[in-house]
Amino acid sequence: MLTDKELKVKSLVYRASTLQLIVRAGAGHTGGDLSLIDILNVLYNRVLRVAPDRMADPDRDRYVQSKGHCVEALYTVLADRGFFPAEELETLGRYGSHFIGHPTRAVPGIEHNTGALGHGLAVAVGMALAARMDGRPYRVFTVLGDGELDEGSNWEASLAAAHYRLDNLVVIIDRNGLQITGPTEQVNGLEPLGEKFRAFGYAVRQVDGNDVVALSSALESVPFEAGKPSLLMAHTVKGKGVSFMENQAGWHHRVPTAEELQQALGELAAARRALEEAQ
């Protein structure tokens, strides 16, 4: 098990690898990858009961990434966890590769194909229901983007999650506040979002979604309440960790130039040095 400090370093390493991956592929969802990466770090290094050799185990935890467009972060974490050799990511987006711009089951470690928004939660509900029917101990985790919540299918699925009292279901909202057009509250207001989810029957908690220690503490305590699905509102920063990308909707799927990449890697390296030097 990684220490808190090691976990924080991991996030910086993942950020650098993800940016390099995006630049190499010439495409990617830079801002959302960087807001999501601490959540993935905590899930795969602390919370999920999964491993490359456990993917046929019916009792493994399930992870469904509903915001499929932030796949570069997921690929980076899966490679680090040994689901496939990191070199395979060289083929991302290339002719004939199974590493494409959204998650597919052709990639080891991925449970469900996503990409169109508003799909993951209903599928996660189905997985959680199956566990309940079979008396299996696995949990189902899904990450939704906040912009994605405009899709009505999420609210259908939420009704069912509460109706079936699925306390083996954990829904994480990557609440970075921005979608491609601009702030979520300007595009199609979501607030008061926590209250809405509470009214839909979730046990809701708020967390700093870029704080791996706080995320660990929240995700290690699921279910938040017996008999209710858990919802973790992870308040994140789009573009987190790179000064000129933070909170900029323009970085939704912009690819850094060579100079921008060097600057970003420099900032991440400095953050790592500061972290390692700190007591």
């Binding site: 194909n113 799909h119 209903a122 509900v125 189905g126 997985m127 229901l129």
Partner: protein, 317 residues
């Protein structure tokens, strides 16, 4: 012999399968009554998942259940389940390859005068264009029973299209039901009628009427719309020289156009016509009245065949 509605046979067969295997599930959208599954819900309450009136949710949840090894039948009116939840079928079922069986009940114009909202004239067209789903439209009780049993064991997605009219037995007991292979219901030399679902009895009636006029018609039940039995379509052209298709669907994108493509690509330019619904707002009426309005009747088929024969005679001259 007149049988039951295929919908009833579907429900009976599913109950039998589910009684023997607790992994067999029905997922419904406040549609258990329409799907004749009220009894299923009473007998096996742990094996029915209700989502309320939420078709997208039916398919998404069905995909999640199937991913965990459940044998899932997602049951909802064809008009809704293949339109409102089309993206879920495309992505969560077919693309993700979770072996869900989507059951479209009261398909075509089964709902008659309820109107266009409740008609599904598009379902075969849209699903044909989606990779990784088998499309079954059984004609009678035997084909329905076999289709449901096939789907229950299938390793990939299946769509079963069902009407709700009582259907006569058409499939000979001795003829095996094989997915992807047309059932030859009647032999003939002069023309082949290729029908699917609830239009098959119309084709058989027309063959009988044509026989009395000296025309020998072969009749195929094309219960598998995809993958299409291309060999049977080509044999129909080669051995009988003319082909007429019948379907309870838009003329666009269904069985007829599928057969036409097979023939054209193979260079078989035989007299050919499609009996289906034209691209217009359909007339109001019962299923039977709508069929009659658009020529999906014994007389309508016979008339079409006569027209093709005249065309063939002209060409021979």
């Amino acid at each position: 012999m007149m049988g039951k509605p295929n919908l009833d046979v579907f429900a009976e067969t599913l109950l039998e399968l589910a009684s023997a295997d607790r992994d067999v599930l029905a997922v419904t959208s406040d549609s258990r009554g329409s799907g004749r599954l009220t009894g299923f819900g009473q007998r096996l309450p742990e094996q029915i998942v209700e989502t309320g009136i939420a078709e997208q949710n039916v398919i998404g949840i069905a995909a999640g259940l199937a991913s965990a090894g459940k044998k899932v039948f997602a049951v909802s009116p064809a008009c809704f389940i293949t339109a409102r939840s089309l993206e879920q079928i495309k992505n969560d079922v077919c693309y993700s390859d979770h072996p869900v069986t989507v059951v479209g009940i009261s398909a075509g114009v089964s709902y008659g005068a309820l109107g266009a909202t409740h008609h599904s004239l598009h379902d075969c067209a849209v699903l044909r264009a989606i990779h990784n789903i088998t499309i079954l439209a059984p004609a009678d009780n035997l084909e329905t029973r076999e289709a449901v049993k096939y789907a229950c064991c299938a390793e990939h997605p299946v769509y079963i299209r069902l009407g709700k009219a009582a259907m006569p037995d058409v499939h000979p007991e001795q003829e095996p039901f094989v997915v992807g292979r047309a059932a030859r219901l009647r032999e003939g030399r002069d023309v082949t009628l290729i029908a699917t679902g609830e239009t098959v009895p119309v084709a058989l009636g027309a063959a009988e009427a044509l026989a009395q006029r000296g025309t020998s018609a072969r009749v195929l039940s094309m219960h598998t719309v995809k993958p299409l039995d291309e060999a049977a379509v080509l044999a129909a052209a080669d051995e009988t020289g003319a082909v007429v298709t019948l379907e309870e669907h838009s003329v666009y994108g269904g069985l007829g156009e599928a057969c036409a493509a097979v023939l054209m690509r193979a260079g078989r330019c035989v007299p050919f016509d499609i009996l289906a619904f034209p691209d217009e707002a359909l007339v109001a009426g019962s299923q039977r009245e709508i069929f009659a309005h658009y020529g999906l009747t014994v007389e309508g088929v016979a008339h079409t065949v006569s027209r093709l024969q005249q065309r063939r005679a002209l060409r021979a001259d």
